[in-house]
Subunit: 524 residues, 2 copies
């Protein structure tokens, strides 16, 4: 069997490049392109990548323990399947990166767009494969998503998300399980106990609230929700103004309010005043919106979620009901949740500061029906992997990510390169990352290279060592510490600090000892 | 510190979606989009993903042992930096997926394209950061690449590549190390000893050959190289025709030849006849093309590669020189290499079949100079991750990838859901993937679900069990084997085969025993 070649030989690519031209018609012939990232796109180096991989490995293990299987969908979806935008002539790229595919046999070039989240592709996949999937279908996924937005500090146009969803279960217990799993996933990723909280609400409560407050106009509903969304920032008095005529902020700018009468506004405020908790909150919410059909339905769902969370061992320290959570209302149909990081850092005035949301999700029972016409219940949770990694780093919780370079074998004697490669091979076989210096610089530059790579040690085998059958090892951590005056470890107090010469046969064992000793010491 | 929110709240997205319209203007209002993948793009499910992740984890570990650090670059590059195409009005997407970015403040919308390999982005990154990088800079990377080509069977427009490159070393030893690392990486990925071979050539030899054969016209050079490239398929006689006037194939189609005279053609054939080996091959090549300046330079490089490979422990069973390797000539400037899988499978006639190339690479000393104007030597190797996974599967070498579903706790009694969740929690805490069935179907459908998930066991706790403080466990593998008549394990020969009822307190231990026993048995 001769598999078709997936990768066209690069000769083809290069030949095409030659034809297509490596030159840029918009520049004078012979000018060089500038080496720069497209705006809003970044390179990620070892430290970031190692941290993100650790998060993804830990979270994947948790999700698999909950019975979720991995799934990967392509970067592109047809624009109509993505369901967010239809590219139009004026502005084909609003919010997404879209392009028209080459025309097919019928001459139709369809619009495709890069996925902007992992939920829309899941809905497409589930609709496409519904008949053959085990149901409920539980999958997790991670990978880049793309948003064609204005980039800003810490706000990129490509970032990694990680999602888990249960498709085909209408049970509130499916929501509870997603919530429990999200909490456990964050902890596995490195968030310490008490460092995050899942805040839960239900769209049906909000609908019930609107009904009981007499709000039926869609625009007014949105204004109410936006006011509620600002509770954290403005407090009840600020929200009261936004529910009524409007509010002037400190700069004097006026935000028009939702125009509710006093009674309706107080009703909304009483709803949000139910506070964040479990049983108590449910009781208070019941007092405010019990009686409306949808409100009662929402309450019953939250009660079932509460019971399931209890049996899953998730207490009020990890998940609470919070009526001020207003998330993705046009998208979700039932429970909604948000993961808030509480990890302590302090601002310049020494005040504790919260990170805010790192993820969220909820129930979206209508998304698959877009394709099939039949309602398929679904619920899921998504978090930003890079954002979580950044948060853990800012909170000093990324200590586990310690980047060490390889042991560097100094290319001391050009005629001895084969011996240096043999040393590197021995170290690698012993599981120790190692490399022979392959640049063209002298000894000093090679030592500087090893230092910049954060190498634990350098190996020097020059003429003396060859003659004596020995090798010299420099403990670079100790060298750094000694030169910084941090330690005066007697064992290494020779006239060449941090350096020892051993029989060649003991080289690997000596380096192992150094690595073991460094592992016990704080990172350099 | 309040980190900026990476992910805009989905409410915004959804609100925009509402504005932008979930409807497709090209279809009548209310019609539903079809759930389908864009052509040439596929979903990958658990089995494929687990296999690819195993490959990437194993190869990454090898590359890190060689001192290579991870790097990730964005999906997009500016078209001029990508250096392959300049989108033009007629056909902006030839070969790449390109789109014009939104205009910046100056009103200029630059063309961006999705990366078609991982080398072009590395060249851009290295040029951009050259001053601050430790040199030589050694990085590995993996991720999707995109090619806007006509899809075919097994040929997709998005696939995962894995690359390693050394930038800033002109030494042939750097090539040798890449070759040794590629061989070790493939073995770590699951290719058995003797299952792959690295085939090495040098562009300088080919240039020397052309010079000695009197070929100076670029078109004629290309025709010669294409003829040589067909040696495997057509043999020397077929290649001789292609080097001369041309060749008529079995269908009668005529391919025009390179138009070489008899002496020149025989010289080229003598070059390719040097065969695939190490020292012998070098000697024969020296006889054919020794004397030309570039040919001698290429030979000296291959000799240095040979010495380094020997000291790295890479013998002729893993890497050979092969003058018929013609790869990416417009792209590479020195050594070129190709990884060929020799893994045995047989075709329908019982003949052993080779998979062919899974990867390749070489030295490209001019790519970074495109940006900087200064030559920076570089060498690297790239392989197709999905293609390697497919090859290993076809060769029956993916046995390690055994997908098991979670233990399924049957939702037998609606009033006992809390107890079921507690069981699931206990199993997960013991490291056993487990889930409570959350659909709405009855017992039979639930058992079928567990079977389709390839679950090892199902847990049933009904009224009898609750009353007795017990739980019933079904060993689903044994159940499958018993019903297939494969085993008659006496311990399980009850009236309900593969089923045992144990005290509730012994449930987790019982399931552990079943899992341990299954681990010793062949996969279901």
């Amino acid at each position: 069997m001769d598999l078709p070649t997936q990768n066209p030989p690069l000769s083809e690519v290069a030949a095409t490049a030659k034809r297509g031209g490596m030159t840029d018609a918009s520049k004078p012939q012979g000018s060089r392109p500038e080496a720069r990232n497209p705006r809003g796109f970044i390179d990620r180096r070892a430290r970031d990548l190692v941290a993100e991989r650790q998060i993804l490995a830990a979270v994947s293990a948790v999700y698999e323990r909950y019975g979720f299987e991995p799934l990967d969908s392509p970067a592109f979806e047809y624009a109509d399947a993505l369901g967010k935008f239809l590219p139009d002539a004026d502005r084909p790229n609003e919010g997404v990166f879209a392009l028209q595919d080459d025309p097919d046999a019928d001459g139709n070039g369809q619009w495709m767009a890069l996925r902007y989240d992992l939920t829309a592709p899941l809905a497409r996949f589930a609709a496409q494969n519904w008949e053959t999937l085990p149901k409920p279908f539980r999958r997790y996924a991670f990978g880049p998503v793309w948003r064609n937005e204005k980039p800003g500090p810490g706000r990129y146009r490509e970032f990694v998300q990680c999602d888990a969803d249960t498709v085909g279960s209408a049970r509130p217990e499916a929501d509870a399980e997603i919530i429990a799993m999200a909490a456990e996933g964050l902890e596995a990723a490195g968030v310490p106990a008490g460092g995050a909280i899942l805040k839960i609400n239900n769209r049906k409560l909000l609908n019930g609230l609107m009904a009981s407050a007499g709000v039926t106009d869609e625009g007014q509903k949105l204004a109410v929700l936006r006011a509620v969304d600002k509770l954290d920032r403005l407090g009840p008095d600020g929200v009261r103004l936004l529910l009524g005529e409007g509010r002037k902020d400190e700069s004097g700018a006026f935000t028009k309010g939702a125009g509710l009468g006093g009674g309706a506004a107080e009703r909304v405020l009483a709803f949000t005043a139910a506070g964040a908790g479990r049983g108590d909150t449910l009781g208070q919410l019941s007092n405010v919106i019990g009686g409306s059909v949808e409100g009662d339905e929402g309450l019953a769902e939250l009660e079932a979620i509460d019971r399931a969370l209890v049996s899953l061992g998730v207490g009020a320290d990890r998940a609470v009901f919070d009526p001020s959570v207003v998330r993705g209302l046009e998208y979700y149909t039932g429970a909604v949740f948000e993961a808030e990081l509480l990890l302590g850092t302090t601002d310049e005035r020494g005040q504790p500061v919260r990170f805010g949301s790192v993820g969220g999700g909820g129930r979206y029972d209508d998304l698959i029906a877009r394709f099939t016409g039949e309602r398929v219940p679904a619920t899921g949770f998504s978090f930003g992997v890079s954002r979580l990694a950044a948060a853990l780093r800012a909170a000093g919780r990324d200590a586990a990510v310690e980047l060490r370079g390889p042991v560097v074998i100094i290319a001391f004697d050009e005629a001895r390169m084969a011996d240096y490669f043999a040393v590197a091979g021995e170290l690698r076989a012993a599981g120790v990352p190692a490399e022979v210096y392959l640049g063209s610089s002298g000894m000093r530059a090679q030592m500087k290279y090893a230092d910049r790579r954060l190498s634990p040690a350098a190996v020097i085998i020059g003429g003396d060592e060859f003659a004596a059958g020995t090798a010299t090892v420099k403990d670079l951590d100790l060298g750094r510490a000694l030169s910084a005056g941090v330690t005066d470890n007697a064992a290494w107090r020779t006239d060449r600090p941090g350096q020892v010469t051993v029989p060649r046969a003991e080289l690997v064992a000596t380096i192992r000892e150094i690595l073991d000793a460094q592992a016990l010491a704080p990172a350099p």
